[in-house]
C-alpha cells in the first residue's frame, strides 16, 4: 500500500519537475542562441526587403535582382555541383575503405594517419596546395601542364580533392566505429547459415548502419561548406569561375556593402537548408525518435 502511494506521488512530482527542469538546463543556451543567431537572422530577413543604403522599401525586388544576377546563378550552380559530387563520393569511399579495414587486421596507427588532415591548419594546406596545383606546381609537372590547375576548370577537381583529402579519414573512422559496434553474433550466424559475403553486406551490414549514415551525412554536409577556406586562401576572392561558390559571392557582396542582395540571398539559402534538413529528418524519422 505504502509502496503504491510513494510511486504515484513520485510520478506527479516528476511530471511537474519535468516541465520546469528542461527550461533551467536550456535557458542560458537558448537565450544566447536567440540573441546571437535568431534575432539577427530575423533582422536579415527584414533587410532583404529594403534597399541597403537608402533604406527604402523594395518588396521582393531584391530577390528578383538576386535571381537574375549571373554571378549568383553561377555560384549556385557551382555549389550544387560541388555538393552533388562530393557528398556521395565521400560517404561511399569512406564506407569502402572502412569495410576493407574491418575485414583485415590493421594496426592502430593507420587510423591516426587518417585523422591527421583534420588537424592541419587551413593556411598550411593552402600553401601546400599552391605548391602542388598552382602555376608550375608538382602535379602540373607530372602531367605536363605548366600553367597548373587553378586557372582552368581543373580547379573544380582540386576543390573536390581538397575536400576528400581533409574529410576522408574522419569519415572512415566514423564508419569503422559504426561497423565495429554491430554484434558479431549476427555475422557468425549468417555465415553458418551459408550466406556469402555480398549477401551479408547487403542484407545485414547496410541496413544496420542507417544511424551512422545519418550522422556522417550531416557532418559531411557541414564540412562541405568549409572548403571555402582553402579555396579562398589558395585562389583569392575571385577564383576561376568553376570554383566560384556561394560563399565567395556572399563575401564579395559583403565587402562591397551590397547588403540588400546579400540579405535576400541569405534568406533563400536558409530556406533551402531548412528544407534539406526536413528531408533528412523524413528519411530517418522512422528509425529514430528525435
Amino acid at each position: 500500500m505504502r509502496k503504491q502511494c510513494r510511486k504515484s506521488s513520485g510520478k506527479r512530482r516528476s511530471t511537474w519537475r519535468s516541465s520546469l527542469t528542461p527550461i533551467a538546463f536550456m535557458a542560458p543556451g537558448l537565450l544566447g542562441t536567440v540573441i546571437f543567431v535568431l534575432l539577427p537572422f530575423a533582422d536579415v530577413i527584414r533587410r532583404s526587403f529594403y534597399a541597403s543604403v537608402v533604406g527604402t522599401w523594395r518588396g521582393f525586388e531584391n530577390y528578383r535582382v538576386v535571381f537574375e544576377n549571373s554571378a549568383f546563378r553561377k555560384a549556385l550552380q557551382n555549389t550544387l555541383r560541388f555538393e552533388l559530387c562530393c557528398l556521395p563520393l565521400l560517404v561511399i569511399l569512406g564506407f569502402l575503405a572502412a569495410y576493407l579495414l574491418t575485414r583485415g587486421r590493421h594496426p592502430e596507427p593507420v587510423k591516426t594517419l587518417f585523422l591527421v588532415p583534420m588537424a592541419i591548419p587551413a593556411v598550411v594546406v593552402a600553401l601546400v596546395w599552391k605548391m602542388v596545383f598552382g602555376h608550375g606546381g608538382f602535379l602540373g609537372q607530372l602531367l605536363n601542364k605548366p600553367e597548373g590547375f587553378m586557372e582552368n576548370p581543373g580547379a573544380f577537381g582540386v576543390l573536390v580533392f581538397s575536400y576528400l583529402w581533409k574529410n576522408l579519414g574522419y569519415t572512415i573512422v566514423l564508419w569503422i566505429a559504426g561497423i565495429a559496434a554491430l554484434p558479431s553474433g549476427m555475422f557468425e550466424a549468417a555465415r553458418v547459415d551459408g550466406a556469402g559475403e555480398t549477401a551479408i553486406l547487403r542484407k545485414i551490414l547496410l541496413p544496420n548502419l542507417k544511424g551512422v549514415l545519418y550522422t556522417i551525412t550531416v557532418l559531411s554536409f557541414l564540412n562541405s561548406f568549409k572548403v571555402f577556406r582553402e579555396a579562398y586562401l589558395v585562389a583569392g576572392a575571385y577564383p576561376q569561375e568553376d570554383i566560384y561558390l556561394l560563399q565567395h559571392l556572399f563575401n564579395n557582396w559583403f565587402v562591397r556593402l551590397e547588403m540588400d542582395k546579400l540579405a535576400a540571398a541569405a534568406v533563400c539559402l536558409g530556406i533551402v537548408l531548412f528544407a534539406v534538413i526536413l528531408l533528412f529528418r523524413h528519411f530517418w524519422d522512422r528509425e529514430e525518435e528525435l
Binding site: F36, P40, L100, P117, Q247, A263, G270
Partner: protein, 286 residues
C-alpha cells in the same frame, strides 16, 4: 594457412593504406622540411611561386643545408608571434569553456526530457548549425556592432559559445544512455541537477570530450570570423598571421606553420582515443 585470395587482399590493402597514409601526411613533412631550409634554397625551389615567374616548383624532402634560422628569427626576434599565439590560445580556451557550460546542459535537456516543441527546437538547432558563416555574417555584424563588441575578442567568443554544433554532437551521447539509470537515481532521491552532473555527464564524457577536441580543431583554425570582425591586428589569432609570401619571409612562414600545427596535433593525439570512442558512442546509439 591463408588462401591465395586472403594473401592478395592483405597485400593490396596494405599497399592501399600505406599510400593513403603518405597522401594524408605529406603536407606535414613538406612544411617541416621547408622550415629547416635556408632562404636561398627555398628561393631556388619556390621562385616561380614567390616571384610569379615562369618556371617550375621544386622541393626536396631533406634540406641541403639545414638551418634553424627561421625558428630563431620567429621565436626570438618576433614578439608579434607570441601575441598572435596567445590570442589563439585565449580564444580557443574561452570558447571551449563556454561551450562546455552552455552546450552540455542544453544537449542534456533536449535528449532526456520530453517537453513541448522539443523536436522542432532540435530541427532548428540543426539548421542553424549548418548555415555557413557567409549567410549569418551580416546579421552577426549588426548585432555585434549594436552591442559594442566589434573589434574585441568577445565578438568571436560569444557567438561561438552559443553555437548549436556541440549541442548536436553531445546530444547523441546523452540520447543513448539507458533511462533506467536516471530513474534509479531519482528514486534514490537525487535532484535533477545531481542526475545530470553525477550520472549523465560521467557516462557521456567520451562524447563530450570528443566534441571538445573537434571544437579545438575548429576554433584554432578560425579564419573568416577574425578577418571580418577584428580590425585591430594585435587581436588577430595565429591562423591569420601568415602574410603574403615574399622571398624574405617564406622560411619564417614555414616555421610558423609548423608551430601552428603543433597544438592541434598534440590535442588530437592526446584525445584520439576519446575522439574515436566518442564518435563511436555518438554515432551508433540510436
Amino acid at each position: 594457412m591463408k588462401s591465395i585470395w586472403e594473401k592478395i587482399e592483405f597485400w593490396v590493402s596494405w599497399g592501399f593504406f600505406l599510400s593513403a597514409g603518405i597522401l594524408f601526411c605529406f603536407p606535414v613533412v613538406m612544411i617541416l622540411s621547408g622550415s629547416l631550409m635556408s632562404p636561398q634554397e627555398l628561393l631556388q625551389h619556390l621562385e616561380t611561386l614567390l616571384n610569379n615567374t615562369e618556371g617550375t616548383v621544386s622541393f626536396s624532402l631533406l634540406p641541403f643545408y639545414p638551418t634553424g634560422e627561421h625558428y630563431v628569427r620567429l621565436l626570438l626576434f618576433t614578439p608579434q608571434f607570441y601575441i598572435v599565439f596567445f590570442n589563439s590560445l585565449k580564444l580557443t580556451g574561452c570558447i571551449l569553456l563556454g561551450q562546455l557550460l552552455i552546450a552540455v546542459p542544453g544537449a542534456w535537456a533536449l535528449s532526456v526530457y520530453r517537453f513541448p516543441l522539443r523536436r522542432q527546437l532540435f530541427t532548428m538547432y540543426v539548421t542553424l548549425m549548418l548555415l555557413p558563416f557567409q549567410v549569418t555574417m551580416l546579421s552577426r555584424y549588426l548585432v555585434l556592432d549594436r552591442l559594442g563588441l566589434m573589434n574585441t575578442h568577445w565578438a568571436l567568443i560569444l557567438p561561438a559559445v552559443f553555437s548549436t554544433f556541440p549541442v548536436f554532437l553531445i546530444y547523441r551521447s546523452f540520447y543513448g544512455l539507458p533511462k533506467e539509470l536516471f530513474e534509479a537515481a531519482r528514486v534514490d532521491g537525487a535532484g535533477e541537477w545531481k542526475v545530470f552532473f553525477h550520472v549523465g555527464m560521467p557516462l557521456a564524457s567520451e562524447g563530450i570530450f570528443s566534441a571538445m577536441v573537434i571544437g579545438f580543431l575548429e576554433y584554432w583554425n578560425m579564419i573568416e570570423e577574425p578577418l571580418v570582425f577584428l580590425e585591430n591586428q594585435t587581436l588577430w589569432p595565429l591562423s591569420l598571421y601568415f602574410p603574403e609570401l615574399r622571398p624574405d619571409n617564406v622560411g619564417t612562414s614555414f616555421a610558423a606553420s609548423v608551430i601552428t600545427l603543433i597544438p592541434p596535433l598534440f590535442v588530437f593525439l592526446l584525445g584520439q582515443d576519446y575522439l574515436e570512442q566518442g564518435i563511436a558512442a555518438s554515432a551508433i546509439k540510436q
